[in-house]
């Protein structure tokens, strides 16, 4: 049953990603990966990432594995930095996320073209500005997501009343 939930969430995430990319080039699927990282079981996380990124590779006409590679590198970077800066829901934690998300947007602009055609993409100041804004929006999403996640009751505490 949880696998079904994960597949359904993946489908919704894919459609939301396509919608938001058409609207403002916002990478929702990746942000959701960041937000869910270390919150759900690694098996579900793996299913979610692999299925979603492969489907998105086909939709965006990327070489299969491109999205997964970008997500993997970004999460690896997040893990690396979290050895120095603690990965928590506080200002340093969100700053680390901001840097990782920004680097992800930068790599999205360069790596898919590099893999597909071997060409480097020219990065302009306007593109950097857009990336910063999108990274800030992504961090805001993570912030809201973390807050909502913390409000959810744990399975074994379902019958307990929440203390204000």
């Amino acid at each position: 049953m949880p696998v079904l939930y994960i597949l359904l969430t993946t489908l919704i995430a894919i459609f939301t990603e396509v919608f938001l990319v058409a609207l403002c080039n916002f990478r929702f699927f990746y942000v959701l990966n960041i937000a869910l990282f270390k919150k759900i079981s690694w098996k579900y996380m793996l299913i979610f990432s692999v299925v979603g990124s492969v489907a998105l590779d086909v939709i965006y006409h990327y070489t299969l594995g491109t999205n997964l590679l970008l997500i993997g590198i970004s999460l690896l970077l997040l893990m690396g930095i979290s050895l120095i800066v603690p990965y928590e829901s506080n200002l340093p934690g969100y700053s680390v996320k901001f840097v990782c998300i920004f680097l992800y947007y930068l790599s999205v602009a360069i790596i898919p073209t590099l893999i597909a055609s071997g060409q480097w993409t020219a990065i302009t100041g306007l593109m950097i500005g857009g990336m910063v804004i999108k990274s800030l929006a992504s961090v805001a999403f993570c912030l809201v997501f973390d807050w909502l996640w913390s409000r959810l009751r744990k399975k074994d505490e379902g019958t307990k009343l929440r203390s204000l």
């Binding site: 058409a22 270390k38 692999v50 939709i59």
Partner: protein, 272 residues
Amino acid sequence: MKNENNSEKHSNIAVYISLFLAILLLILDSLGSFAGIRKGISFVFEPATFQVNAVGKKVNEYFQVFVHLGEFQKDYNALKVEIYEKEALYSSYSILKNENDALKKQIALGNQETQYVMANVLREDLVDAVLIDQGSDVGVKQGDVVTVGNTFVGIVSSVDLKGGTVRLPSDANSHLEIVVLKSGQSNVTKAGILSSGVISGSPEGIKIENISMNSDVADGDTVYINDSKVGGFLALGYVVGLSSNPASTYKTAFVSPILDYDNLMQVFVRVE
């Protein structure tokens, strides 16, 4: 604490597996091994994502309108300036056309012996008089008749070097003799005159008095000025609001002027 460390450790394993799978997929797809899988996924997702993409782009277009609101404002202001320029140009054409029409009427009068001075009407808040921009320096003097073609406008009541005031028939001090002709009759002959009378200005309008009780004057008949001060027949307007009091010996009526005095732009002063 132990569980948390395990979960973190396993999450790290998921990242390593993801990276390994990504590299594997990249290599195999580059070799063309996943063509079938690509087609399958494409077959399932493309129609739905196409629709979602279209919706996203449509919403984006709406947002773009807000983004480019400043440019639209600039365009709007530029268009406004352009419209003002066109309006200014049009009004200058309008003045020229008006002058042309007035001159045509004056030429059609065919009276070559009398001298006329063309004057522009100046705007003023006067109700029963108009100001003109020609004065005694061009020979305009008090008592001169002002016309447009064969239509009576008024009589110059005061004049200075560069301008003058024309008293309109609606002025309370204006008293002129008139004749009434059957409507549609343009030639003034003794036989065609239905009645004579006197017009004078009143708060209600230009009032005709002394219309003979036995005359066949009706609403719509034409009123011509026939006064020694004017010297000749000049059209004024049409009879309206004809009323007769059985106890009185004459009828009264009002004149609806041919000319709209508020919109006069050029007039001709008959210089004797």
